[in-house]
């Protein structure tokens, strides 16, 4: 049951935050469903993308933040490319993920959230992905210390597993990109 006006006022602050940081206007969505028609991951979602947009419109922001769909979105951007109203749907969903993290919603797809955060901080630190440290950190955080351990001899033999982190040329620029995004600029 959606109750108005309570629903709208309850979701207003979070919705405004999502709209500000994503630079998108959620009310522009007219529910044509094209985002869902093209989505490659929707089969695994609890709500299809157009329903996520609708839930945001009616103020049910918390349902979106806590949804599996928001965590499982691949950020492939197909929905954003095809939206007839030119809404960056993937951007809205990505922003919802960040806002959910900040709001301390940690129950849904916990491992996925951890992996994503680990991935981002890894890239931020090294300028590009360093698999070894990501794997160790992730396994440590998820208490699966022995996870994938059998694969280690294999990848070492194949020589595409670097023990030391890579160095990139302009790490400062990479940092600036991260700062820019966190400020809520248009990536």
């Amino acid at each position: 049951m959606i109750r108005f006006p309570e629903s709208m006022s309850a979701g207003a602050a979070l919705l405004a935050e999502i709209e500000r940081r994503s630079g998108q206007q959620v009310s522009a969505c007219y529910q044509c469903g094209r985002c869902t028609s093209t989505c490659v991951a929707a089969f695994a979602f609890d709500y299809p993308p157009h329903t996520l947009m609708r839930l945001l419109q009616v103020g049910m922001v918390r349902e979106v933040l806590a949804s599996r769909a928001a965590q499982l979105c691949l950020d492939c951007m197909t929905c954003s490319t095809r939206c007839p109203m030119e809404i960056d749907v993937a951007g809205v969903i990505e922003t919802a993920k960040l806002v959910a993290d900040e709001a301390g919603l940690k129950d849904t797809e916990r491992d996925l959230r951890l992996l994503r955060r680990a991935f981002l901080s890894n890239v931020r630190r090294h300028g590009r992905l360093h698999e070894a440290s990501l794997l160790i950190w992730f396994n440590f955080r998820t208490h699966n210390f022995m996870n994938d351990i059998k694969l280690v001899p294999l990848v070492l033999r194949k020589k595409n597993f670097h023990i030391f982190p890579p160095r990139i040329k302009n790490r400062r620029q990479m940092l600036r990109i991260f700062q820019e995004i966190n400020r809520g600029g248009k990536g």
Binding site: I2, F4, P5, Y30, H50, T51, V58
Partner: protein, 662 residues
């Protein structure tokens, strides 16, 4: 010499009827000199083929087997005329609507088409040349209804120099448009764009404006209508009243406010609204103290112009017109009885869209401030419910009102403009925004004005702690919805205006199952009624928004101007004629004629006989049937022609299946 032409109508006919075979059969019929199958007979080359055959083979009569004569009889008559034949030497056989379209068995359909062809050939042998008569037409038009449709039609006709009489039953012209606040999608003020036109009607030298008047009776025919117009008694002398409103201010008797759709109240003697045209008072006797046993005569005493006349009586004027435009508009559907779940009108804060227009309007009962009727509070949560009495089979109303989506979007926008911290919710089933700039407007209602559109029908409305609870659903979010609303606005559907059916009967025109007047062809003759000389303008023909109404009314005016500009009309020669030698003078024909077209005459020897007034006869044929000695016959439908046809279809080898007197 008969020419027989069968039309393939692309594949419309030839897919089921073997036209070549029918043509071959026709070629063998007695008197047929040419028989051809043509791909599109009505096209330019098709008509040329007929003309060539008429000239080359010296044809004196023609049978065309094609579509309904309603579609192309006039076309082919003109083709005959151009080729030098009398246009009435044509017989049409309908093998499309009455054969190819309704049958699937090709050999049976071909056989039926051949039978129909024989019958027509038998009949056309008896055709005689007829001459179309010209009758004088009265150069004055009647416009019934003074809304935007009637106003536009009247101004357009008057601008062409043709005098117009406008009849309006209420005390002022302006109609529904005068009650609207703003208009979609431009949001310009309705009365600001309408008022100048109303004034122009009043001041136009070619327009006679009769308010408080209704059409009582209509006689006659296209070009020569006789119309009785009933002028109701309003106890006010229109010539003297200056519109000073003293009577309205001082009148002690309250009366319902029709102009404000029942919100607020008015007086027994009143001027409908400040921009009323004409600006004169009128008294409603049913609410007046004087006419209800009291002694009050305050208005008469106070009127500085001496315009009040309690003894004023109804008058019936008889006028002649060449053409009539019906522009009676629409009424909002009275939803109360059919929607018990919306409260049947028990909750004062459930209002109709028209009432909401009056709440928005600066000339309305609240001076343009949105106030709930129950306690006068300013609402914050306003819920709009679309399709009340539209698209609802359960209340017997399947039709779309065609304007509800847009006026609701407009009202939602205006709600936010009037009360910036308000929230408007619109329950809708589909957003129908087909007009120019309409979709963009509806989008703006959502994005710029924050209207929340909720897809779903409302199930129930009930009061709770001074609010109205609206139970609905959001089919897009897939959940039930409950809104605590301060005010609920019902977007009620549109009906033909009260009395439109009765007027249609007087005008001898048809109404559809929703009560709207029927045009002669839904695409090609959208303003012509089925009765010659009667035209339709605006929402009386079906729900329309203002731009469509104005366009429709302009089209009706153009048809009237085209009809009356020449001052005379071509009348069909297919009228009744009396063979005086056979007439017994019983005048049964006179008794049955619905048009009064039969008069009594005397032969030189003193014998009384019936005589048909050709210009009044409409060719209905009732007198033919009534005449005991068979002295009256209808030109183009003589007994000889009909009997020839019947004999042909009753021939033993033809069979009874295709018996058709068409």
């Amino acid at each position: 010499m008969i020419g027989f032409f069968i039309c393939q109508c692309g594949t419309n006919i030839s897919a089921t009827v073997d036209t070549g075979k029918v043509a071959a059969a026709a070629a063998a019929m007695r008197g047929v000199a040419v028989a051809e199958s043509i791909q599109y007979t009505c096209s330019d080359p098709g008509q040329a083929t007929i003309a060539e055959a008429i000239r080359g083979k010296r044809l004196d009569r023609v049978v065309i087997a094609a579509c309904s004569p309603r579609m192309h009889e006039a076309t082919f008559r003109r083709a005959l005329e151009r080729a030098g034949l009398n246009p009435f030497m044509l017989e049409m056989v309908n093998i499309r609507e009455q054969c190819s379209w309704i049958h699937s068995d090709a050999s049976e359909a071909t056989r039926k088409a051949t039978d129909l062809a024989r019958k027509a050939v038998a009949r056309v042998r008896h055709h005689t040349p007829l001459l179309a008569r010209k009758t004088a037409a009265v150069r004055r038009a009647l416009v019934i209804g003074g809304g935007i449709a009637g106003i536009q039609a009247a101004l357009d006709i008057a601008a062409a120099g043709i005098p117009v009489t406008m009849v309006e039953r209420s005390p002022s012209i302006g109609g529904n448009m005068a009650r609207l606040d703003k208009t979609f999608p431009t949001l310009d003020c309705s009365s600001c764009i309408l008022a100048p036109l109303m004034v122009e009607v009043k001041q136009h030298e070619n327009i006679e404006l009769l308010v408080n008047s209704e059409v009582d009776d209509v006689h006659g025919y296209a070009g020569n209508f006789e119309v009785d117009i009933r002028r109701k008694s309003t106890c006010v002398d229109e010539e003297k009243c200056t519109g000073c409103m003293i009577c309205q201010d001082k009148c002690p008797a309250r009366a319902p406010d029709d102009f404000n759709a029942g919100l607020g109240s008015s007086k027994a003697i009143s001027i409908a609204f400040p921009q009323a045209v004409p600006l004169i008072a009128s008294l409603r006797k049913e609410h007046c103290r004087r006419f209800n046993g009291n002694k009050c005569r305050l208005c008469q005493k106070l009127c500085p112009a001496g315009a009040i006349d309690y003894g004023q009586e109804e008058a019936v004027l008889r006028r002649s017109f060449g053409a009539i435009v019906a522009a009676t508009g629409y009424d909002h559907y009275d939803w109360k009885a059919s929607y018990p779940t919306y409260g049947m009108g028990m909750y004062p804060d459930v209002v109709t869209s028209l009432q909401y227009e009056r709440l928005l309007s600066a000339s309305g009962p609240t001076g343009g401030r949105i106030r709930r009727p129950s306690d006068g509070a300013e609402p914050r949560q306003v819920v709009f419910v679309s399709c009340v009495g539209s698209r609802d089979e359960s209340v017997g109303r399947p039709q779309c009102c065609s304007v509800g989506c847009m006026y609701t979007a407009k009202q939602a926008v205006l709600t936010r403009e009037h009360i910036p911290d308000s929230q408007a919710y619109v329950f809708y089933m589909d957003m129908r925004a087909g007009g120019k700039d309409y979709e963009e407007f509806a989008r703006r209602a959502q994005t710029r004005y924050g209207t929340l559109f909720i897809r779903g029908r409302v199930g129930k409305i009930f009061p709770r702690r001074g609010k109205l609870v609206v139970m609905g659903t959001d089919t897009l979010a897939g959940d039930q919805v409950e809104i605590e609303a301060d005010l609920v606005v019902l977007a009620t559907g549109l009906d033909a205006s009260a009395g439109a059916g009765e007027l249609a009967r007087k005008l001898n025109i048809a109404c559809d199952r929703n009560g709207f007047m029927t045009e002669e062809h839904p695409k090609l003759r959208p303003v012509e009624a089925a009765s010659a000389g009667v035209f339709l303008a605006g929402a009386c023909q079906g729900p329309k928004d203002i731009p469509a109404t104005v366009a429709h009314a302009g089209a009706a005016a153009a048809k009237v101007i085209g009809m009356l500009a020449r001052g005379e009309l071509e009348a069909s020669p297919m009228v009744a004629a009396v063979t005086e030698s056979r007439c017994a003078g019983c005048f049964k024909c006179r008794g049955v004629c619905p048009f009064g077209a039969v008069e009594k005459a005397r032969l030189p020897d003193g014998r009384p006989v019936a005589r048909v007034i050709g210009s009044v006869c409409r060719g209905c044929g009732i007198c033919n049937v009534a005449c005991p000695p068979g002295a009256i016959s209808l030109n183009g439908f003589t007994d000889k022609e009909l009997i020839a046809e019947i004999v042909e279809v009753l021939k033993p080898d033809v069979g009874y299946r295709t018996l058709d007197f068409g």
